[in-house]
Structure formats: structure tokens, C-alpha cells
């Protein structure tokens, strides 16, 4: 027991301590967490002080059989006249004992095995994973029966075996966590720095798996109690011991005469298991909250940046533009109440035959504003302000708190389409590329499958795929990233939309493939005359393909206008910074600007 506790309690440095304190704080502020801790403490107190608290000897039989609750026997007596309250109090010992044995054995096997398997892999990983699979295929109850048949009623042996049976839970948890942490750069760095494996595991990996292991341990304690008392209920426990399961068994035999004797032990069992389950849930919530808050903090940087005068797009007559976004504000609710604003007063428009670039660093709200156009914001997003108008129809209007999902659904794919960022994760791995291309066309254009197939093959050829037939019948895992991105572009243009939203369409690709994909987009536009919105963090892409550009920072547009003007003469310091960071040492553009005498760039 002490051995495993020592391992899990190795201090993981300053950050670890701070994190733990705040998690415990969150846990106790959650009413369920507090209740769970209170119940568990109560059981522990009962178990420790049963000798003082219990009014009678729990095993002493008397003549007052099955008496109702009264002054002497607060909860009555059982079928052999033993005091139920005393038996309940003493019973908490066996219950906690079985929980602790099971959890300690399971952690003692699962944690080290998971660490070694996850960290070193190789033959040990194969062997232990194989053993895990066998253990998980065994019905625990049947195994415990076999053990009982062999060694008789022995709670220690039973719970040790139970611990072995549930150790795969810990093994898998720790192994997965270790594998993922092992791949992290800071672990590589630690290894390069000459830290021994033991120190790396102690410092970096145990800190990560500690909380999940505690959660799992609480669940295992609950299940252990459930199994142990079930065995006792079946009459396979030690009938002379004062345990809750034996009490249920005794009560069940007198169910017709005194059903109340069943109530107390059943309630005690459920309450204790419930305590463990709620504790695990509350701890999980506390950890998830913490992660969420951290992510939010990252996404919602303080808005200290200047509110530089933004070109007032709303002043432009609305009907002039194919797609217009006016003064859009998108917010997310925060776990602790309140909202964070991720898009703040953003306005832009796009027309046919032009490419609008939206530039900014990750988390600046670029993608969020285009998801709003598609009506594909996450469920918890709130459009707090603004209006989106497509082809003269208002699809999103915060003033009437209306997101017209049916109108948007009719536009999606048919008139507004989307090219995502990460090619491989944006195709459904279970369906062939062909079927994923054909389905929107048969649905939106009402054409037959055969016609759809013909069109899909043409589309694949038009985005530069050399063997369309082969790609058509391939599954996503059979093609390369660049190929998949071409497939996604083909999908986006398949129903001849008026507007294409391309969200970082080249960021995940190799540099050579990037240029080819941009060429494909440009060629398609000259042919089909769509309006294109290109979201990117790369000014090179903007310079290459865009007509106008909007620069976003911290959810706001800081500068917007003609690409040439902004590239030559960026007025906002953030744009200047972005440009400088990418233009260092790029002579051709510098020369171009000194020639054109508009100058201004350092």
C-alpha cells in the first residue's frame, strides 16, 4: 500500500503543487464533490471508531429477534437478534478494507506496467497488452466464484484477485498517457539534457497520470464494494462476519417479515459506492473545468490593443455585395459565468470574381467569423451582435436574435461552400472519396448517381488529379494530404457555389503542394467567377492570390483594404509587424516598392 502511494505522491515541482491545490478547491466548491467527500469521511470515521460508536457487540445474538427500531436498538435487530446499528458500524471496516485492497493491487499492477509498456514499448508492451486483453475477456464474477471455490470465503484473497482483474483499467490509462507524454518535445529535451528515465517518469509522466489514476481508483473502490457485497449476498462470504453484504443476505431471507432490515445495509452500500462515484465525477469535472479555463484564457487575450479607426464597411450600400458581414460579435459562455468575446465588431464583404483575404494569428477569430457565415459555429457560441447578408437575404441577425438555420442549410454547399484546413481529418474515413463527392451533388443538384459519378471524375481531373478513377474509389486513408486537399476543393466547387470559404487551405501542406493548390483555386475562379474568402495567417498567400485583405487581431479587424495598398503602406502597427516578420530579406518586393515611389516601408 505505502509503496504505491509513495509513487503517486512524488512531488512534481511548483506548477504541480499549485495545480493540485486549485483542483481540490474546485472539487470542494462543487456541492456534489463536497457531499461525496463528506460521505466518504463519515464512512472512514465509522470504520476507525466502530469500537467506541457501536452500542453492542455486532456478533452477539440475543433473544429479541427482528425487533423494530426502538430506544435500545436504534435500528432494530436482525434474525438472530444482533443489533443492526452496531453491525452497520463494524461493517464499514470490511467495506473500506475491500475497496482499499482492490484499488492498491490494481494500481500496484496497472501503474508500473502501464509506465513501462508506454515508455519503453517493445516486447513488454506486446506481452502486457495481450495479458490485458485476456483479463478483460474474463467475467470478473465467474473468476471470483472460481477463487472462492478454491480457497473458501476469504475477503483478502478475493479482493486481491479482484484488483488483478481490474488492473487493465489502470494499465490502459497509464500506458496511453505515457505514450502521449513520451512523444512531447519537453520529454525529448529532458532526455537530451541527460535526465535518467526514472527522473523523467517521476517528474513529467507521473504528474500527468496522477489525477486520472485517482479518478479511476475511486471508481474501482466503488465497484470492489459492489462485488464484495454481492458475493456476501450470494452467501459466499464469511457468514459470521459483520459485513454489509452478509446483512443484506440475512435481511433477504426475512424479506416477508421484516423488509426494513434490508434497508439499512442496502442504503449503506449504495451511499458508500455513490460517494466514490460522485467523488470521481466531481474530480473529473474539476480537472475539465481547469483545462477549459486555460484554453479560454489562451483564446481570449486581453483587449488592450488600440481600437484604431476601422474602415466603415457598413456605410457601403448593402445590396451591392454578394456576401456581407456587419459588425459581427461572437461570444462563448465561460465556466465561471460571463462570456468571452472571440469576434468583436467585425465587418467585411466579398463580391464575385474577387478574393478577400482574412489574415491574423491563430486565435484571432478569423475562422470563427467564417463559421458564422456558414452557420456552423459550435453549439455553445452566441452571436451577440451583427448581421450577415447573403445575396440580399439576411441569414444571421443578432438584433432579432435570429440565425436562420433553414436558410443557411439551403445555402450550404449549393451557394456557399467550404474548404477546410486539415485535409485528412475532413474526409469521413468510413466512406470512399467518390461517395463523399457524389452525395452532395445528387442531393443538391438532383442529378442521378451515374451522372454524379461522371461529374465527380471530371472535378477530380479539374483539380489536377492524374488518375481520377483510382482516387474516386479510394478511401481517405489511401491518398496523400495534398491529394485529399484537392479532393476537398473538388467537393467545395462540385455544386457551383457563388462563394467559397477557404479556411487556411494550404497550411497543412508541403510548400510545393501549397503553390499548386493555390494555382488550382485561382484557375477555378477565373473559370467559375466565385467570390472567395481566404482565411490565412500567411501574408505570402495573401500577396499571391488576394484582391483585398482584412487584418484581424484579438477578434477585431485592425485594417482592411486593397492588397497592394496594405502591402505597400500598412497603417496599423500589427500589420506592419506581420509584414516585417515575413518580408525580412525578400528583395523583389522591396525593389518593386522603391520603383513605384510610394515607399514607406522600412
Amino acid at each position: 500500500m505505502t509503496q504505491t502511494l509513495e509513487i503517486t505522491d512524488i512531488p512534481v515541482g511548483q506548477t504541480g503543487t499549485v495545480k493540485r491545490a486549485s483542483v481540490i478547491g474546485r472539487l470542494l466548491r462543487n456541492p456534489m464533490g463536497l457531499a461525496a467527500v463528506a460521505v466518504l469521511l463519515l464512512i472512514v470515521v465509522c470504520a476507525l471508531f466502530a469500537g467506541w460508536l457501536a452500542p453492542f457487540d455486532p456478533t452477539r445474538a440475543t433473544n429479541t429477534v427482528l425487533s423494530s427500531p426502538n430506544g435500545t436498538h436504534l435500528l432494530g435487530t436482525d434474525s438472530t437478534g444482533r443489533d443492526i446499528l452496531s453491525r452497520l458500524l463494524y461493517g464499514s471496516r470490511g467495506t473500506l478494507l475491500s475497496a482499499v485492497i482492490a484499488a492498491v493491487v490494481a494500481i500496484g499492477i496497472g501503474l508500473p506496467a502501464g509506465l513501462v509498456a508506454g515508455y519503453y514499448g517493445r516486447w513488454f508492451d506486446n506481452l502486457s497488452s495481450w495479458a490485458t486483453n485476456i483479463l478483460m475477456a474474463l467475467p470478473t464474477m465467474i473468476v471470483l466464484l472460481a477463487v472462492r471455490a478454491a480457497v473458501g470465503p476469504n475477503v483478502y484473497v478475493t479482493m486481491v484477485v479482484f484488483g488483478v482483474m481490474v488492473s487493465p483499467g489502470f494499465f490502459r490509462l497509464v500506458r496511453t498517457a505515457t505514450q502521449s507524454v513520451r512523444g512531447e518535445l519537453y520529454v525529448d529535451a529532458a532526455r537530451v539534457a541527460g535526465l535518467s528515465d526514472v527522473r523523467i517518469i517521476g517528474r513529467h509522466i507521473l504528474g500527468v497520470v496522477r489525477a486520472p489514476v485517482i479518478i479511476q481508483a475511486a471508481m474501482v473502490c466503488g465497484i470492489a464494494i459492489s462485488f464484495q457485497s454481492a458475493l456476501e449476498f450470494l452467501g459466499l462470504g464469511d457468514p459470521t462476519a459483520a459485513t454489509w453484504g452478509v446483512m443484506v443476505n440475512d435481511g433477504f431471507r426475512t424479506i416477508f417479515r421484516a423488509p426494513l432490515t434490508l434497508l439499512w445495509p442496502s442504503a449503506a452500500i449504495s451511499l458508500t459506492i455513490g460517494g466514490f462515484v460522485l467523488f470521481a465525477n466531481a474530480l473529473r469535472d474539476a480537472l475539465e473545468d481547469q483545462v477549459k479555463t486555460k484554453e479560454k484564457r489562451k483564446a481570449a487575450q486581453p483587449k488592450t490593443v488600440s481600437t484604431a479607426p476601422v474602415p466603415d464597411v457598413a456605410a457601403v450600400p448593402a445590396t451591392e455585395h454578394l456576401l456581407e458581414v456587419r459588425d459581427l460579435r461572437i461570444q462563448y459562455p465561460q465556466p465561471g459565468g460571463g462570456r468571452t468575446t472571440v469576434v468583436d465588431g467585425v465587418s467585411w464583404f466579398v463580391d464575385r470574381d474577387e478574393v478577400l483575404g482574412i489574415v491574423g494569428e491563430s486565435g484571432s477569430g478569423k475562422s470563427q467569423s467564417v463559421f458564422a457565415v456558414l452557420g456552423l459555429l459550435p453549439d455553445n457560441a452566441i452571436v451577440a451582435n451583427g448581421q450577415i447578408i447573403f445575396d440580399g437575404v439576411s441569414t444571421v441577425d443578432a438584433s432579432t436574435s435570429r440565425i436562420d438555420q433553414s436558410a443557411l442549410a439551403a445555402l450550404r454547399g449549393r451557394r456557399i461552400s467550404y474548404i477546410p484546413q486539415e485535409p485528412m481529418s475532413n474526409l469521413d474515413p468510413s466512406f470512399t472519396i467518390g461517395s463523399q463527392l457524389v452525395r452532395p451533388m445528387t442531393r443538391l443538384l438532383g442529378i442521378s448517381k451515374a451522372e454524379g459519378e461522371k461529374r465527380a471524375l471530371d472535378l477530380l481531373a479539374s483539380v489536377g488529379i492524374k488518375d481520377p478513377r483510382r482516387t474516386y474509389s479510394s478511401y481517405p486513408h489511401q491518398v496523400s494530404g495534398g491529394m485529399a486537399q484537392r479532393v476537398l476543393i473538388a467537393g467545395a466547387i462540385s455544386c457551383e457555389p457563388d462563394v467559397i470559404i477557404a479556411d487556411e487551405p494550404t497550411s497543412a501542406l508541403d510548400v510545393t503542394v501549397q503553390a499548386e493548390v493555390l494555382d488550382v483555386i485561382r484557375d477555378l475562379q477565373t473559370e467559375l467567377h466565385q467570390g472567395i474568402i481566404l482565411v490565412t495567417h500567411n501574408f505570402g498567400v495573401v500577396a499571391d492570390i488576394c484582391d483585398r485583405v482584412a487584418v484581424m487581431q484579438n477578434g477585431r479587424i485592425v485594417e482592411q483594404g486593397d492588397v497592394r495598398t496594405i502591402l505597400r503602406n500598412p497603417s496599423h502597427e500589427y500589420t506592419q509587424m506581420l509584414l516585417e516578420s515575413m518580408l525580412v530579406g525578400k528583395k523583389p518586393l522591396t525593389r518593386l516598392m522603391s520603383d513605384s515611389a510610394t515607399g514607406g516601408m522600412k
Binding site: 466464484l145 443484506v248 462515484v277 477546410p420 474515413p429 452525395r439 467537393g491
Partner: protein, 313 residues
Amino acid sequence: MLTFIGKRLASGVVALVVVACLTFVLLFTTSGNIARNIMGDQASEESVAAKAHELGLDRPLLARLGSWLWDAVHLQFGKSYFSEQQVVSAMVSRLPLTLSMVFVAIVLTALIATLLGVTAAVKRGVVDRVVQVMAVLGASIPGFIIGIVLVLVFAINLRWFPAVSKIGPTSKPSVWVASLTLPVIALVLNGIASATQQIRSAFIKQLELDYVRTLRSRGIPEREVLFRHVLRAAAPAGLTVLSLHFIGLLGGVVIIETLFALPGLGRLAVDATTQSDLPLVMGVVIYTVAIVVVVNLFVDIANGWLNPKVRVS
């Protein structure tokens, strides 16, 4: 795909053999004097020794294991120590009841848990909160206590169902239904609660993937996105959840059959355990593990078929 199935089958058989050997060694090395246990305390030393010799207990353990395995290959698992009944015929007479309960239970679990889990994942809100509370309650109240409550309320107080079943092979279907309704409900409630929660998580995990947004952006109707794509993608995780629940159910019937006095495999297991009737215990272990191996094989095949990476290669 065929090599995939072959591999899974082979690993299942290996698992079965390993489990059989381990159980055999565990049972026959840790049990006390088996012959004395059978003959009772009054029996003379000579008759105990004679019994031990008759049962082959005086032979070395490995030799006994070897002959047990040899018999097992020919589907012979010996006789019960006490009733002299063949283990195989004991199993065969008990299996139909237990298997029908377990299969009804797993089908109910699959249907209800998928329905509730998917609804909770898609709609969130009230349904989702109910599912969460259900999961906590289901994890907190052990199956045997749920069974006892059901007996108290529906059999003893309301008298809707018999508390103790009297079913036999010749009973009418109506008697079967009446006798098995409460046991099956008691058997599935915990499982439904936790399977719902797990299927909900599996579904949400898929809903959050990028390709779901892309499918929606292509104009595919929401219903089709959910039921053709997301449900399909979540199916392997769901099947794995259900296969683990199936294993759990094989343990659960032990309790439920005892509680409702049903003459199934679980009841036999408890009786054999109480008497330390080792051949019967071995039989129960081998039969249940064999059932699990078969079910897991089907789940593996189904998952392999669902996964194009396995199916196509």
C-alpha cells in the same frame, strides 16, 4: 480480411487454453483435501484415499492437466463430484435459460443505450442531464440491490410478477415471460445506465471531429450527417462498449439467477462454488470464457468490417 479473422480466432483459442490451464492449476493447487471434502468428516482415511485414487487426485498435477485438456478437446469435462452428472449435460441443460436472458438483456441494452446516448449527445439539455444522473445512480446502486428493490415493490407489494420463478422446460411461454421480466429488468438497469453514458461520449467524440463540419458545409442534411456518418463512425466504440457489457452480464446473471431462484448457469455456478465441486466450476469457467471468445470474435469481425483500413487490405 480473412487473415484478420484467422488471427483473431487463433488469439481467442490461445486465450481460452491459457485461461483453462490457469484455472485448473488455481483450483487444484489451492483447494484443500478435495477427497476429504467430498467424503465428509466422518469418512475413514482409507475411503478418502480410495476416493482420491478414483478421481485421479493422486496423480501429478501436470498429468491431470494434460488429461483434462485431452478430454476437453473431445468436449468432455468430467463428472460432478457430488451429483455424478456429466459436466457437459449440466451445462447444456442450464445454458438455454441463461443465454436467452443474456441475449435479451444485451439487445435491450444496445437499443435503449444507443437511443438515449445518441439523443443526449445531439440534444444535450434535459435529456443529457437525466442521462448523467442515471449514470451516477446506476454506478452507485449494485445490481443485486436493484433486484431486491424490484422484488419488494413489484413481486411482494404489487404482486405483478412472481417473486420466485417456477419455470421449467415445459412451462408455457406466458409463464416464461412473467417469470423472466423482473430478472431481465434487474439485469439490464445498471448496464443501460453506464452504456448510455459511454455511447454518449463516443458519439460526442465523433460529433466534434472536423469532417462532421465539412459534411454539413456540403449541404448534407443533419439527419443524414448524424445517422449515416456519425453513428457509423461511433459504431466500433459502441460495439466495444457492448461487448464489455456482455461480459459483465455473464457475471450479473450469477446474482440475478440466485436472487430469483432461476435454474440457469449462474445458479449452477454458485452451487458448485459453495460445494467446491471443482469439475463443475471448471466447466462454468470454460463455457463462459468460450462464449466471450465467440462474441468477441464477432465484435472484432464487425469492427474490422466497419474499418476500411482493415476491410480493404
